[in-house]
């Protein structure tokens, strides 16, 4: 979330500043809240709450600016590691397993429920912790629970994806003969070799599109 988004989210919290929405403090706080920012959307509440609290406490603008700069990097990296490489792929993998073993709707609903418990929970916690923390908000980011989450996020996601792969693969490959299965295995192996050593920046999409072009060509020939 960038500066304009932070200003949009912070504005309701700034209306109660002395002087109200016509006052100088409100206007100056709004200007500060619209300046550059970048952070993870699920944890942005920590910054929104903390910065609004400092405005209410009358903290000098330079200190507020320093807090703002200090929060941007950690909020991004903690959120990215915790959500994008942790809970989201884990929930996705669980959704895949449920979808292929039970039913499509169970998979979809299971994934959405699991992911959104984290999504909504983090957003509510972040805003509340930010408001409570004010200038001391960093203590929440360095808390034991966050450290534990960061430690287990990657391995948990890798384990969940590993668990889902054979089950999803077998469901997708049902009805394929041995020749086709061998073809899938060869393409997958070539893709992994490309991604891990020959051409790491190629990416799955471009590899897939290249394969599609070759398959169409082979089909015509």
């Amino acid at each position: 979330m960038i500066g304009v988004g932070v200003a949009f989210s912070s504005e309701p919290l700034l209306r109660d500043l002395p002087g109200g929405v016509q006052g100088q403090r409100y206007r100056k706080a709004l200007v500060r809240s619209a300046s550059y920012f970048n952070g993870h959307p699920y944890l942005i509440g920590l910054a929104v709450g903390a910065l609004a609290r400092t405005e209410h406490e009358g903290v000098p603008p330079e200190q507020i600016g320093r807090l703002r700069s200090a929060l941007a990097g950690p909020l991004g990296s903690v959120g990215d590691k915790m959500v994008w490489t942790g809970t989201l792929p884990s929930a996705s993998a669980v959704g895949l397993v449920l979808a292929v073993t039970l039913s499509p709707m169970v998979g979809v609903v299971g994934f959405l429920v699991l992911h959104n418990i984290v999504n909504i929970g983090l957003r509510v916690w972040a805003l509340s912790a930010g408001w409570r923390g004010g200038m001391q908000v960093a203590k929440f980011l360095g808390g034991a629970a966050i450290k534990l989450c960061l430690k287990v996020a990657g391995p948990m996601a890798a384990c969940a994806v590993g668990l889902a792969l054979p089950l999803a693969g077998a469901w997708l490959a049902r009805g394929l003969d041995m020749k086709a299965l061998l073809g899938v295995g060869i393409v997958a192996t070539v893709g992994i070799v490309f991604a891990r050593s020959l051409w790491p920046t190629l990416g799955g999409l471009r590899f897939g599109l290249g394969g599609v072009a070759l398959a169409v060509l082979a089909g015509w020939l």
């Binding site: 500066g3 792929p89 979808a99 394929l176 393409v187 590899f207």
Partner: protein
Amino acid sequence: MIANAGWLLLWGVVVGLDLICVAQTMVSRPLVAGTVAGAIAGDPVAGMAVGVILELFALEVQPFGATRYPDYGLGAVAAAAAAAGAPAILGTGVGVSLGLIVAFVGGKGLHLRRIRNGLDVDRHLDQLEQGNLRIIYALHLRGLAREVLRSLIVTAFGLLLAEAIRRWAPLTVQGAVYLGIVTLGAAVSAAVTGAIRLAGRKSAQQWFVLGLLGGLVGLMLR
């Protein structure tokens, strides 16, 4: 003609908005977007099949900071529309191929939208520096409107392509089978690569192997 094309277009807008701009509840993940689009088009199982394959592709994506990434959600909507009603592997391979193209175009659209948003902010820096509340709200809403427009255009492009493929598929049955094999293989490789990256350190990669073994045991027990 694709069934319920209007509803699919609307679903595409919801999926596009959810990706970044509104709530991020992850209805934009291919598993969800594809299954629901399949249900709208009258074939939830075909929608789920393309959704599962594109979800495997999406597991490779790590959307850190200003990373550019494909829009697999809108890809899944188009893929489900193309695959609905077609026989298993034939429809799935063609649908996912189309989904990859739409995901690529959608990703380019995301980048273009970010540039437009940035230019819009640049044009109004003076007013922002004066704490103009109206301009903050206007910039925010214009950003949302651009996302609605991007989602509409990309979904419409995907649905038109799906309709064209359904009517005049320039493919032999053998070609469609090849597409199924290639897209499934590429999806598995993307998911494996993504999982290894998720684990990070070499010592943590044992967790991926452990999960893989658990999945194989689960497969044998079924």
